[in-house]
């Protein structure tokens, strides 16, 4: 079972290391992790996706870290999730048009066109990134990078993050 946790932390040195090493030590398998500063000074938000775990233990253990302020589990049906993908897809003069058309179906942006490849950017729900990859796979994926997941609860579920 996969769980997405939204973790508000104090922006102190080592806080990411504490979270990562706690997960390693307790056998919590991190699927994805992304971190960035919040709009409030001194705070950051981490989106943590963990696999095959008792999520209650993860939450409780993370809460024991002094720099962790708030943890909420995001319901996948009631939250907004995004990942960014950059992919260099094989494309020559014969099929360049076809590859671009396919990518545009997904709303992917063309970042760079080379002699034998096109690099696309796609920011979307993680499942859409999967669908996109399936579609372009047979042209040949030359290189690929994906960001960690970021997520927010949807409107009614969402509470404003304030500095206490």
């Amino acid at each position: 079972m996969r769980h997405t946790l939204s973790v508000t932390v104090e922006d102190k040195p080592g806080v990411l290391a504490r979270i990562a090493s706690l997960c390693a030590r307790r056998g919590f398998n991190i699927r994805s992790l992304s971190v960035g500063p919040l709009h409030l000074p001194g705070l950051s938000k981490i989106t943590l996706v963990v696999d095959d775990v008792e999520v209650e233990q993860v939450t409780k253990q993370l809460h024991k870290l002094v720099n962790v302020l708030k943890i909420s589990e995001l319901d996948p049906d009631d939250s907004l999730e995004r990942e960014v993908l950059l992919a260099r897809i094989a494309a020559n003069s014969d099929n360049r048009r076809e590859v671009r058309d396919a990518a545009e179906v997904f709303g992917a942006t063309t970042l760079d066109v080379g002699g034998d490849s096109i690099t696309f950017e796609l920011c979307d729900h993680p499942s859409r990134l999967g669908d996109f990859l399936k579609l372009v796979e047979h042209y040949g994926v030359l290189d690929l990078v994906k960001s960690g997941r970021v997520a927010l609860a949807r409107g009614a579920k969402a509470k404003a993050v304030t500095n206490q």
Binding site: V9, E10, P13, G14, A17, R18, S21, R25, E56, Q57, K60, Q61, H63, K64, L65, V66, N67, V68, L69, Q164
Partner: protein, 570 residues
């Protein structure tokens, strides 16, 4: 505005926390902090190894409940305290460790005596700090003491680069602690308290399963009041020996791998476990799937992560044991209904088990000395008025089993981590904390040999502790497992080499050395030891290498299959 050095700020900050003694070993990176110590009323106990200093600080903390302080230098000084830090983490001992670090400009360059101290300490502390600005020192010391001594107690490390100890700073008054991510819950939720008493009032076979959290919370009086009012039998784990008087009719002794038949069986047959400040450790539960199979669980702990970690709790109560026990007593006092019908039969059953299956051993008049006999003789000779400190192994189990504890903080040992070598330095720390108490370490020869350089510390610093060395010539507990589970193939457990000559070793380090080798010699030797107050004394007792600790629930086995003695093997 006058400025002071970071080192002076550090020592002043320790003084402000009420620190009266620190245990440590100096070195290059921590050097600046040792200079203002000379002008401070704080006593510094110079250990012979940083691990010893750490265990001394733990002994001090165990004996008093106050925060123990250990100081070490960078690199090897810091790596040497990782064992005490992990020990303190496992047993929830309030500790503040201060380590010197190489200068900020050298950090990360593999400088002389550099180690990634905070990185290493991440897993073996409750929290750790790397000081990056001299202004932080005083504030961080205050936070560290707060963290170490509140909520679930534990070790906190402060790593300070040498240049920041030398840097100048203004001394400022304390500001309120600002730790938004740390707000331990102390009182139990009223609904949970009501549910707990509902369950208790309807249970026929309840057991109070008491852990070290009760001692940490100073809740022994509240426990006694609650147990008596509720008429529930009590088992105290290895970390909770002394939390409830062993002489009390409701006391069942220790649960777990080497627990009493009564405690182990009562848990197995219970319909309700009231777990207080305890964590369902594998040494208590054996196979958790078969542990107390018919029991519902009320789990009280100040650390929410312990509740539900091993065993699901029907009634989870996050809170401080002292506060929650008081809440439970008050809630129970409101109820007026009769006790459930089975309750008196339960207490009779428990009493019957105690009668039928007491702890036992056989000491023949001319046979080898049994360690259990030594513990009982020591108890009688001291009237039980001592702080008992132990190492790790068979002697630890026998001391816990055969000493009748009557008050908290009189049993100091390494429970969770099982750190051999704990006894001698922890006893020194306890004696420093309680100079008017008799402090006796009951140690094993294997355990003793891991830290015995601290004998020198005790003699040099004038700390008259006593060590009763149970010398069975080997790593007895490992040997016991080899006897039981490895077809008596004794691999690397024999220490019976003739070395060291323990009394001579004692004398060489400024101690009095005494030896007893027969049952008849034991009591006079103890009396002689107790008669010496001005020097530390080591009494070596040669004991039976074949003796094993019973009862025993084999690791990972079911508590239903408790073995009472060698006759139960097949």
């Amino acid at each position: 505005m006058q400025t002071i050095t970071g080192a002076i700020a550090l020592i002043k900050a320790l003084e402000r926390e009420g620190v009266d003694v620190v245990f440590g070993v100096p070195g290059g990176a921590i050097l600046p902090a040792y200079d203002p110590l000379l002008d401070s009323p704080i006593r510094h106990v110079l250990a012979r190894h940083e691990q010893g200093a750490g265990h001394m600080a733990e002994g001090y903390a165990h004996a008093t409940g106050k925060v123990g302080v250990v100081i070490a230098t960078s690199g090897p000084g810091a790596t040497n305290i990782m064992t005490p830090l992990q020990d303190a983490l496992m047993d929830s001992v309030p500790l503040v460790a201060i380590t010197g670090q190489v200068a900020s400009s050298s950090m990360g360059n593999d400088a002389f005596q550099e180690a990634a101290t905070t990185g290493m300490a991440m897993h073996c502390t409750k929290h750790s700090y790397l000081i990056t600005r001299v202004e932080e020192i005083a504030t961080v010391v205050h936070e560290a003491f707060h963290l170490a001594s509140s909520g679930r107690r534990g070790p906190v490390l402060i790593d300070i680069p040498k240049d920041l100890l030398a840097a100048e700073v203004e001394w400022v008054d304390l500001e309120p602690i600002d730790l938004p991510g740390y707000r331990p819950t102390t009182s139990g939720h009223p609904r949970q308290i009501r549910q707990a008493i509902d369950l208790l009032m309807s249970s026929e076979r309840p057991v109070l399963y008491v852990g070290g959290g009760v001692i940490a919370a100073e809740a022994n009086a509240e426990l006694l009041a609650f147990a008596e009012a509720a008429q529930v039998p009590v088992t105290t784990t290895l970390m909770a020996r002394g939390a409830f008087p062993d002489s009390h009719p409701l006391a069942m002794g220790m649960p777990g791998m080497h627990g009493t038949y009564t405690a182990v069986t009562a848990i197995q047959k219970s319909d309700l476990l009231v777990a207080l400040g305890t964590r369902f450790d594998d040494r208590v539960t054996g196979n958790p799937a078969t542990f107390a199979p018919g029991a519902k669980v009320i789990h009280v702990d100040v650390d929410p992560a312990e509740i539900g970690k091993v065993r699901n709790a029907e009634v989870p109560i996050v809170g401080d044991a002292k506060v929650v026990l008081d809440q439970l007593s008050k809630e129970m006092a409101k109820r007026t209904g009769p006790a459930p019908p089975g309750r008196s039969a339960w207490l009779e059953t428990v009493a019957k088990w105690q009668d039928q299956h007491p702890l036992r051993y056989d000491q023949t008049e001319d046979g080898p000395v049994k360690a259990q006999f030594v513990v009982e003789q020591l108890f009688e000779a001291t009237d039980g008025q001592a702080i008992v400190v132990s190492g790790v192994g068979q002697h630890q189990m026998w001391a816990s089993q055969f000493w009748s504890f009557s008050r908290p903080r009189t049993w100091i040992n390494s429970g969770g981590l099982g750190t051999m070598g704990f006894a001698v330095p922890a006893a020194i720390g306890a004696k420093v904390a309680c100079p008017d108490e008799l402090v006796v370490a009951i140690d094993g020869d294997g355990s003793f040999q891991m830290t015995f350089q601290e004998l020198v510390t005790a003699a040099s610093e004038g700390i008259p502790v006593k060590v009763v060395l149970i010398n069975n010539g080997g790593h007895g507990m490992v040997r016991q497992w080899q006897t039981l589970f490895y077809r008596r193939r004794y691999s690397a457990t024999d220490l019976n080499t003739g070395y060291p000559d323990y009394p001579a070793l004692a004398e060489a380090t400024g101690w009095v050395g005494i030896q007893a080798a027969t049952p008849a010699e034991v009591r006079p030797a103890i009396q002689k030891m107790l008669g010496i107050d001005d020097r530390p004394v080591l009494l070596e007792v040669r004991t039976d290498p074949e003796e094993m600790v019973w009862p025993m629930v084999p690791a990972g086995g079911s508590c239903d299959d408790i073995l009472l003695g060698p006759e139960d093997l097949q």
